[in-house]
């Protein structure tokens, strides 16, 4: 089961990321992890939160452009070589990763073109997929 990750468009200016986290705090939504990608004048923020729909509503109301996308969330052990195992599994199957980042509890968020196949392969390799 893929998880729902929330993406937010942010202009590259002072205080915008803080504003997102302020809204999450106000709504009592826990931020489990995030990553940012930046272009010249803007960036996109990807977040994993305790309540995606509630977070999206609150952010939209505050004027943010948002998007919800599926991603794989797997738990990896905190020891040498663990990430490599994940990556090898996917590259052996010729699945390219669009982006990847780590969230709290040594969990890894992965976005890949063939989501279901990747998920299945990882499960076969003994990784545990997190549903939320």
């Amino acid at each position: 089961m893929p998880i729902k990750q929330l993406t937010v468009f942010l202009e590259n200016k002072l205080g915008r990321l803080a504003e997102v986290t302020r809204i999450l705090k106000r709504e009592n939504i826990n931020l489990q992890g995030f990553s940012t990608t930046e272009a010249r004048d803007y960036g996109i923020l990807r977040i994993v939160v305790s309540d995606v729909e509630k977070a999206r509503e609150a952010l939209k109301k505050a004027g943010f452009t948002t998007h919800v996308a599926d991603a794989i969330c797997i738990r990896v052990e905190d020891r040498p070589g663990e990430l490599l195992n994940v990556l090898d599994t996917l590259s052996d199957a010729k699945i390219n990763i669009d982006y990847i980042y780590v969230i709290a509890g040594t969990r890894v968020i992965l976005s890949v073109p063939e989501l279901e196949r990747a998920e299945k392969l990882l499960i076969e390799k003994g990784f545990s997929i997190c549903a939320d």
């Binding site: 990750q5 468009f9 942010l10 202009e11 990608t37 803007y42 990807r46 998007h67 996308a69 976005s111």
Partner: protein
Amino acid sequence: MTLGFLNESIETADKKSIEKMQTERLKSTLINVYENVSFYKKRLDDCGVDPYNFKNIDELQKIPFTTKEDLRLNYPFNMLARPFGEIVRIHSSSGTTGNPTVVAYTGRDIEIWGEVIARQLFSLNLRRGDIFQNSYGYGLFTGGLGLHYGIEKLGGVAIPVSGGNTERQIKIMQDFLTGVICCTPSYALHIAEVGTELGVDFSKLALKAGVLGAEPWTNQIRSEIEKRLSINAYDIYGLSEVIGPGVSCECSFKKGLHVAEDNFIVETIDPKTGKNVPEAKTGELVFTTITKEGMPVIRYRTKDLSNLIYEKCECGRTHVRMKKPIGRSDDMLIIRGVNVFPSQIEEVLMNVKEIEPHYLIVVQKKNFLDFIEVWVEVPENIFSEKMNTLEIFEASIEHKLYSAIGISIDVKLKEPKTIKRSEGKAKRVVDMRRGEKP
């Protein structure tokens, strides 16, 4: 489509009788200004035009132009051709860039102004009993009161709500069963946006038409407004120096704005040489008033660029039409030697269906070179978790701008609702070279 005229004999008069009428009226106007405005007496003496012997309308071209600067130098009342006692109204520009320009009307001028607008509203199939929400500003600005008198002359119901307080505008629109909205095109868009946020379905309202003006707008913006407000949107043109709104207006065919030739003579000139340009060529609009008593203007340069269409309109009216103005000659940006009109940029942007009709053109110098950025708000329906969707979107607009205009223009994506909405005339260009700030 129903046709009809409020004043058929005038509106469908043949060219010859229009010209005859214009020559007579121009002559009496010239006599009026010669006798009563020292500025024009000197002008006419200098160019050798004797108003008492004025016979041929072509002689008008011998008279030098009147400019905004001339009006400013004669601030406030030196251009008036009638004494107080006959003058019943004064309007004025805001004067943000110097002395304001002041204009004055006699009772008859006000009467004619109303009549001209009433005819135009009638040509849009609007009738006695129609409910008009007049959201042009009431006050020194000619928009509000100008439309107001035209609506009353038609027999329409005028709701003088003036500009601003958009939520109240929408409530009135719903409760008073507004049929026609009168405001700037950018304010019409703002009303549509706020209404949609409030969950208003405009197609369920009585609203059927918009009489929109006071700023140049493209046909692309027109389709957006028509779609969002579920109306027919028509362009009305005017400037206070000539009379105010109503100098020209579209008819229901939307194929050019009819100039009320029984009251105004229009010419198009090359803004650089001042020579009249041939029919169908773009030029600066120049107006001469031929019925106004209080403050006539002779060959007033508007700086608005358009083309004249002399052919009779499908609606049956014979008066000359002007194409929707593409902008003002002083709106033209010169970017690395290329002339760019904001309206060209608007056309490209509005052909991209995902883009909201709110944008800002920012001009600046970078490394001694002129540079244009176009700010648009990121559309939710193209936004995803992938960075390259946004990058491709930006690049595709940049490519379209380049092919249409011939210079590279940078597109900047902004967060929603961060580009300022306008309740009056929109400011869509910020020229940082002149110290302006976005």
